[in-house]
């Protein structure tokens, strides 16, 4: 367990370094990426551009620039090129917004995904299964931006049932917080509910044919106990993996579309805005932040696996 943790931490470190290099390189090879031209305004004076290059260190060799950036990153002094805001502060400001969205939506999608998956498997081939399958496929197929836009159009613009986006901190006004979160939660979870219920349904239907389930029945256990202790116990294991990775990705800023549509000012939206203005420091910051969560969650998934399935041992 200790060896596993140490090894995973070392891996995480290398993943983050590699990602930062890739981000830096991409930024320097894309066309129109020169931040000096961008900062100098619409019709720049070459002397001004040169001055900006000097000030920001864009004339240094790339490895030096990279080293400087990373030093600032680790000291928490990374600042946006375009407006000078501190990247770490911006990330911390967006974090509660993203957390509200992702944690709330995750609860909804896990509960409903698992519930629908169980129902669909229980009534496999019959009407409830068909309905859930349709809902699932629709949920999977609909693009998030379209669902979000549709909800906003009908429930906000047409009937004014919900606010047109924005975020109210939970600590400030819990009711307003909830009121603002309902549509984003719905939008984000619809996709995952479809995936989770489909996956769980097929896992359950595979598991009920296992020999050990027949053994459980031959032991004279109640159907309820067979379902919960013998079937679901195993059918849910892959769901745990999927959830860990999805949650990590969304928490790490992957819910870009949902955050942007509902103007939640979270980490994802921050990333999207930074990419829009080709602002390297915040892009680097959000990439590292997101990667950290994904790597962290996948390590947690591996640990959870070892607990859920005794045949799996964590090897150092």
């Amino acid at each position: 367990m200790l060896r596993f943790t140490v090894r995973r931490l070392a891996q995480t470190f290398f993943v983050l370094i590699a990602l930062s290099i890739i981000t830096f390189v991409i930024f320097n090879v894309i066309p129109n990426g020169d931040p000096a031209l961008r900062l100098a305004g619409r019709t720049p004076n070459p002397a001004v551009v040169q001055q900006i290059r000097e000030d920001f260190g864009f004339n240094d060799p790339l490895p030096t620039q990279y080293a400087n950036l990373m030093e600032k990153t680790f000291k928490g002094e990374l600042e946006s090129y375009s407006n000078g805001t501190n990247v770490r502060e911006e990330l911390l400001r967006g974090l509660p917004n993203t957390a509200s969205l992702v944690i709330g939506a995750a609860i909804i999608w896990v509960v409903l995904g698992v519930l629908f998956g169980i129902l669909a498997a229980k009534y496999a081939g019959r009407i409830p299964d068909r309905l859930i399958t349709i809902i699932g496929i629709v949920g999977i197929s609909l693009p998030v931006f379209w669902v979000g836009a549709l909800l906003l159009y009908y429930l906000t613009f047409k009937v004014s049932l919900f606010p047109p986006g924005g975020y109210t901190p939970l600590t400030e006004d819990p009711v307003q917080w909830l009121y603002h979160m309902i549509l984003p939660w719905t939008t984000l979870s619809i996709l995952f509910i479809g995936f989770y219920s489909r996956l769980l349904r097929s896992n359950i239907l595979d598991t009920v044919n296992e020999d050990y389930v027949r053994t459980a029945r031959a032991k004279g256990l109640s159907e309820r106990r067979i379902t919960t202790r013998h079937v679901l116990r195993n059918a849910l294991i892959p769901i745990v993996t999927l959830f860990g990775l999805d949650f990590g990705a969304a928490f790490g800023g992957g819910a870009i579309l949902t955050e942007s549509i509902f103007n939640l000012q979270g980490v994802g939206q921050y990333a999207a805005d930074s990419i829009g203005t080709l602002d390297l420091p915040p892009i680097l910051g959000t990439v590292l932040y997101g990667a950290f969560f994904i790597v962290l969650l996948s390590a947690l998934v591996d640990i959870a696996y070892a607990f859920l399935d005794p045949r799996i041992r964590l090897s150092g």
Partner: protein, 340 residues
């Protein structure tokens, strides 16, 4: 004669499939007496496992159709409610399966699984159940059961797992043990150990239904033998009757394909030519006639299961015992390549 503990009367089990209805069991009747070991023998697809699992209600599914009666302690198990069945399963009739690798739940400790069996039918504390589980493991010959009880199935060898399955089956002192090919998935040396374990435990096991295609296993522990072919019983009798005076040509074939260490050694081990019949469209008349070298015109009509050879033996072949004896003497074994 001991009285019947379990009676199966004219059991028919059919499954609807995309290709049509598979009549897996087609009119099987037999009884299991107190304290005996009844072997049901046949090839894959002969309906022996379906018969055994139907007794436990394990073949119930929306695609399955059942007819007949399975009488046990005044109840008809074939039409019993789920709750009635649940009380019988594991408690009165226990079952062990072919593949001990997959029949135990992979994520629970063995002690837990055995304790679960005990607590499914008896009100006992966790600690007592655990103690009894340890004792059961000891009885089936698992060394240092106090520590092994906290092992997971994957930490056991195949033979040990089958021992654990037997321990679990014994947990509630059932009156009947159904062993569905208990040795098929095991190494030959382990097979012998498991069979001798079942033999040793006979006094505790009550009656045993042993499903197998291995006549060596049958000779070892069975009292009576039921030979199934194509979903039907083709011959039934005591172990001696069947081994020394087999009546049905299919039984001859089975016995002929047995490797023997005594007597004439064939150059090549004989086998029964052809494949088991389709159970969707079985041959008219005798099911075995498509593979039987002694087929004659009367075989187009299905022979009834009747006593022809005397004793308790019944069989499904039109030939008279004298004709059979003559044909066996001339031809030795059916489907037999020339013996060296």
């Amino acid at each position: 004669m001991a009285e019947a503990l379990l009676t199966v009367e004219d059991l028919r089990v059919g499954f609807e499939t995309d290709d049509g209805r598979v009549q897996a069991v087609d009119g099987v009747s037999f009884e299991l007496r107190e304290g005996e070991v009844l072997a049901i023998v046949g090839e894959s697809g002969s309906g022996k496992s379906v018969t055994a699992q139907t007794i436990m209600g394990l073949t119930r599914s929306p695609n399955a159709a059942f007819e007949g009666r399975i009488g046990f302690e005044g109840e008809d198990l074939l039409n019993a409610s789920q709750e009635q069945l649940r009380r019988v399963r594991g408690n009165e009739i226990a079952m062990i399966f072919q593949d001990p690798m997959t029949s135990l739940h992979p994520v629970y400790k063995l002690g837990w699984q055995i304790a679960e069996q005990i607590q499914a039918h008896e009100q006992v504390s966790k600690a007592d159940a655990r103690e009894r589980a340890t004792e059961l493991l000891r009885r089936v010959g698992i060394p240092s059961p106090e520590s092994r009880i906290d092992n997971y199935p994957h930490e056991f060898s195949g033979g040990m797992r089958q021992r654990a399955m037997i321990a679990m089956a014994l947990a509630n002192s059932p009156r009947i043990l159904i062993a569905d090919e208990p040795t098929t998935a095991l190494d030959v040396t382990i097979q012998a150990q498991i069979i001798s374990l079942i033999g040793d435990l006979r006094s505790e096991l009550g009656s045993v239904i042993l499903i197998t295609h291995d006549l060596g296993v049958v000779a070892e522990i069975a009292d009576r033998v039921l030979v199934m072919y194509g979903g039907m019983v083709v011959e039934q009798g005591t172990l001696e009757e069947l081994f020394y005076n087999p009546q049905h040509p299919y039984t001859w074939g089975l016995l002929g394909s047995l490797a023997r260490v005594d007597g004439v050694k064939p150059r090549r081990l004989p086998s029964i030519a052809g494949a088991p019949p389709s159970l969707i469209a079985p041959p008219k008349g005798c099911r075995f006639r498509t593979r039987c070298p002694h087929e004659f015109d009367r075989c187009a009509e299905l022979p009834p299961l009747a006593a022809r050879a005397g004793g308790t033996q019944i069989d499904r072949c039109w030939l008279s015992p004298q004709e059979k004896a003559a044909k066996r003497a001339v031809e030795g074994r059916i489907g037999l390549e020339a013996t060296a």
